[in-house]
Each structure stands twice: as structure tokens, then as C-alpha cells.
Symmetry: C2
Amino acid sequence: MTQIRLIDIKKDILAENRMEADEIRQKLRGNGVFMLNVMSSPGSGKTSLLLRTIAALGKELRMGVIEGDIESSVDAEKIARTGTPAVQLRTGGACHLDAPMIGAALNELNLAELDLVIIENVGNLVCPAEFDTGSTLSAVILSVPEGDDKPLKYPLIFTVCQVLIINKTDYLEGSDFDLAALKDRVYRLNPEIRIVEVSCKTGNGMESWTDLLRKEVADNRD
Amino acid sequence: MTQIRLIDIKKDILAENRMEADEIRQKLRGNGVFMLNVMSSPGSGKTSLLLRTIAALGKELRMGVIEGDIESSVDAEKIARTGTPAVQLRTGGACHLDAPMIGAALNELNLAELDLVIIENVGNLVCPAEFDTGSTLSAVILSVPEGDDKPLKYPLIFTVCQVLIINKTDYLEGSDFDLAALKDRVYRLNPEIRIVEVSCKTGNGMESWTDLLRKEVADNRD
């Protein structure tokens, strides 16, 4: 009973959200801004990836960051320390960011002076996948300690993202994480997905990610 | 606008859910059954903890398991291989288990022949914390690779659980995970919470968890 009601409501919310997401995409296009939505479980390395990306591309691209958290602003503070404009969205319990929240955050950024906005979504492998944020590209991070079976259990997020970033590859040695099995599971869900392997801790493989992102931003401008 | 509607609906759902959870608790009490709800992010080690718990307590307690997953039944299959009755709940997209789902799963178990039912909730540090499942005890697992800042960002789950299980302590060496800072953050949210440290991989510290659970089940019978 409860469930059936929940599902109907969700459909309305998702349709309304999608309309606002399309408006956001139009606004971004008008300003020549690329928006990347980064999603993952808590602790997979979203903030670390952002910091590495800012360090690598900060001189060639003008960036802004939208941090989504249920509570606290520790991540936005870390970003702000790099000199990058950061907006903290505190969802106050909500388990994902939606288009209206992103719309409100974008109003706090000067889009005319930006090339790239990166959204760090709420740490959650489930709900954020359902809500279009209006972004140009969506990426999911999966870190090695989480295990190679996650695509079997949380398929939607691997289906809606264009990029999978495998992080914490420094944990691969001596672990039973099966990289080939993971990739096979992901490609079955999403044959077009691009996969990069990085360690945000050591910096290994970061160029594969920043090269991909640089090219996407450039292609989007043409 | 979307958000305000969402919150109102959520209140109704949570109130309805709470009523069903209370009915479940009454039914369990009538059958002398203890129910444990295990929550965590994806990949923190819920299934590994269950397998270790079954191996340690399976001879003294008659157990049943309810597996919650969005898709797949890989976890229930792992449990069933131990000879423990297991019910798989496939939520088909829903990011948490609620009381009606647990009520339906309990109908598939013979409560008169069980001492302990363990729920493995959907891997999610956010939504499951909001839904009372009717369980006697709630435990959250946080694994070392997720980082020591999680209580700052996902406070609710650390507030509603009576036990925190710190898993993957085998990763502590050489990591920058600050165990004292983590505990301090958790105790501020929940001064009564009990904390155990385990490695489901090596088995280290497992007795601290199984001793706690054994005592809780016994106390609940008196």
C-alpha cells in the first residue's frame, strides 16, 4: 500500500524534475558552460577526485563546484581552499540532488565566467541515479574496497552514467577485486560507458581521467 | 516546490511505516524472536558480517536472514549455502527496506522455529536510516576505506543505530583513517552507541561483535 503510493508520486516528481533539468541544460549551453555530475557511494573519493581535477585543469579551465551534502560543509571548505568558487547545498536529509536544487546553486555562480561546473552529489549509489541534474556528463566512481559485484546490485547508476571511474586502484594488489569481471558486468549494462582507472591517493592514472574530461569540454564547445 | 511536496508525503509514509513496524515488533515478541537490522554503504561488508555471524552463532541460535537488494539475489544465495533460511527482497529500485516489506518477508519465515532474524538492508547510508523496520536492534557498519568523516556527513544513521561496527580494520595500517576522531564524532551524535572493531576478512575482533549480539538476544528473552 505504502509502496504503491510512493511510486505514483515519484513518477510526477521525476517528470517535473526532468523539465527543470532540460531548462538548466539550455541555460548552460547559452553560457557555454559544461556541467559534470559526479556520483558514488560515501567514501569512494568524490572530493579527492575533484581536488585532483582542479589541480590538473585549474589553469586551463575556469571551474566552479556544487557540493551536495546532507549535513556539514567540510567538502565545500576543502574546495574553497583551492580558490575555486564553491556552493554548498545542504539537503537536510534528502538523499540526492535534484534539478531545482542545482538550479538554485547555479544562481549563486557567475556562469559567464565559468567553463566547467562540477557537481559532487550526495554519497549514495541509489537515489542520485534517478534524478537528472541537467548536467552535460554524468560519472560514477566505484572504489576497489567496495567490491566488484556492485553493478549487479546497483545497476541503474552504471546505466545512466557515461563514465565509470574506478578509484583506489592502489588497493588492487592483494585484494580479491576482479577488474575483468567488474568491467564485464558494467559493459553488459552499458556498452557505451567509458572506464578509467585511477588512484586519487597516488595520482596514478589521473591523466586518463583529465584527458577525457578536457576533450569532452572542448567537444561540447564546438 | 518539488521538495516541499516530497517532504509532506514523506511524513505520511513514515507515520504509516512506524505503525506497521510496531506491529512487527509485537509479533516478534510474541514468538520470542530477536530481529537485527544491519545497514551500511554498498561494499562495507554486510554480507561478510552475516556469514561470520552465522559461522560463530549458528549452532546456538536458530537464525533466518532477510536480504534486501535493488536487483539480484547473489547475497541470499551466499546465505542459503550456509543452510540458513534466507528470504530475498528485491526492491526494484527502492533505496531502502520499509516495515511492509519486512512484514511480507517475515511471513515467508517460520518464526516459531527461529531465535534471531537478521536483515541485510539495501546498501545505502542515507534512506534506510529513516525507515523503522520493526527490528529489536539496529547496527551500522562503517568500513575503514570509507573514511572517518562519515558521521559528519551522514549523521542520522549513526543516531538511530545502537551499535557501530567498524569493519576492514585490516586496512587501518598505513591509512590516514583517524579512529579516535571517528569515535569522537559518533559519540557526539549518540553517546549511548556501542562500538566494536572487526575485520570480517581476517576474523579479528569478531568475538566482540558476537558476544554483544549473543548477550542482546539473551537479555531480550528474559
